[in-house]
Symmetry: C2
Subunit: 368 residues, 2 copies
Amino acid sequence: MSTSFLIKAVTVVAIGLSSLGFSGLTQADDGKKYRWRLAETWGPNFPIFGEATKNMAKMVKEMSNGRLTIRIDSSNKHKSPLGIFDFVKTGQYQMGHSGSYYWKGKNFNTLFFTTVPFGMTAPEQYAWFYHGGGMELMQKVYSQYGILSFPGGNTGNQMGGWFKKEINSVEDLKGLKMRIPGFAGEVLARLGAKPTNIPAGELYTALERNTIDALEWVGPSLDLRMGFHKIAPYYYTGWHEPAAELQFMVNEKAYNSLPKDLQKILTVAMKAAAYDMYAQSYHESAMNLATLAKDYPNVKMRSFPKPVMNAILATNETLLKEFAAKDKMTAEILKSLSDYQQKARAWTNLSDRAYLDNFDSKVSVAAQ
Amino acid sequence: MSTSFLIKAVTVVAIGLSSLGFSGLTQADDGKKYRWRLAETWGPNFPIFGEATKNMAKMVKEMSNGRLTIRIDSSNKHKSPLGIFDFVKTGQYQMGHSGSYYWKGKNFNTLFFTTVPFGMTAPEQYAWFYHGGGMELMQKVYSQYGILSFPGGNTGNQMGGWFKKEINSVEDLKGLKMRIPGFAGEVLARLGAKPTNIPAGELYTALERNTIDALEWVGPSLDLRMGFHKIAPYYYTGWHEPAAELQFMVNEKAYNSLPKDLQKILTVAMKAAAYDMYAQSYHESAMNLATLAKDYPNVKMRSFPKPVMNAILATNETLLKEFAAKDKMTAEILKSLSDYQQKARAWTNLSDRAYLDNFDSKVSVAAQ
């Protein structure tokens, strides 16, 4: 320890005391160090998702000058990728990083704060969260568990998946064995598909050995390292997760125990890390798509034919209406999403969509 | 002053000293209070743009517990809306909030860090700033002035403007008197239009009295309060500012004088405030567009016909090539923008654009 360091410390004390009389300089600094732990659903060094938690924790540490530090435990450590909700609810961990739609078994209404099939794009959805009542509705759902929930990073529009055979009609969905979990799987099941869930580590082999005919994962940002493009030639555009937003969770009591300035540092860091992940996802998708197009020119990018897409869209609407009829809170959330999307989409169509249509083809166009 | 407050202060000192030996708890807190000033281009209470600076300053104040406060001077106070660059360069103000393209008279290359006609959308551009080399190029341009430049909030895609008459052919641009400043005005001038710049306060009257035939302002988020829809029935979609990003500027010496934790608090607050403004712009555009459609159903939304758009696009490319031939740094920036846009746009087309095309019309479609 250097002497200059000690001198600085003494200066701090002197100035701190003399300024207290008129300014309350340190009123939020209780002198304590807070050592928090965050449990994430992802394995260690998971790209993009895992970088979002590290980015958040680094911002918090640096902005608080070490007064609040957050240790990140990946799934190899806590052994319970889908135990994050309970970890945070009980306070075993002060924080979690996961996806809200994983908790639909605990409370069905958590489903709607990640993304909805045929729902909003990422910019539309951020506008809804922060200006259209989304944050308030999310808190209404989570408050009964003593959990605060925040946006945790957007993947951007997810691809419809990798298919071994082309889908030309609604008939082609019948009997289709596809890894597609959750709500989207239910939609396809109503159209005759056989949705399944398979752990990430077994996906490649399952697709290779025809245990499944198709699968969805994320998009170019994360799909390429999985190798699916080597065994399934059709890559379909998305409909089921137009803007999957991950989730930061904070134990409410732990949050309330923080001084006001650390609360603010934490919330701003989570918000910035969420937006940052959207920018990073966009970047990684663009770069990996370019690699895919260059190294695997035989991969065929497709959109589902209109009759198929319309059948899926209609089934999705039927399902949502059934859910809304069962539960008041579901109805309230779906009405908010639907009303907001209608207005936000009108703007998207008049702005970015009309703009993109200035360019003659869907092939990329550069500024010069 | 309450006694509990004094007791807390003493606690701070005690813990502060005892923890110094192993942690350096207060090493970045020099005990000083920093009182900064920010000059903004906008007038007082300017919607959205002015809210971005207030949002940033509030985050900084709360996260730093008052150690760094930023007073905002609007143009009514400093009297020089386009003097922000010099204010920050000389250190008269530690910070500024403006638009990088306003400084093209000082350094032509500042032009490219706001937006470029036919350039990237906001999500593409954020990916470029933070992952595609944009921040580094911007700093290369600004470092010679002792200024640090940061994204300062995105307006989203700006509309092409309000027109009294429909534009049906390139011929219709000839002699068209339009308020459209900057680079986009130069593009239209080459096609025979007569671009002018007119102060905001005189725009309505100029349009009403046919001093001009058309004007561009921002988009539904800010246009409605100007009243143009009452006197110009055609509202055209955009091409010239696909993602205008405002700018925070910081005097480099002032920045370096801050303790490390306050530097981080400042940069994270600027970043979050910039992203936040994009979400707010999206929201305000969506809400105001809905109002416009409801209260003024006679306003006609149009895109320029393909031959007109293609003529503007070709002229824009010619102009950019001329600029790139004149200056090495310009060429470097344009190459970076162009290469990145090509990759990012391929992803946009495969993701959000293909997704939006799932919906049969450009009219808004709700989730249920």
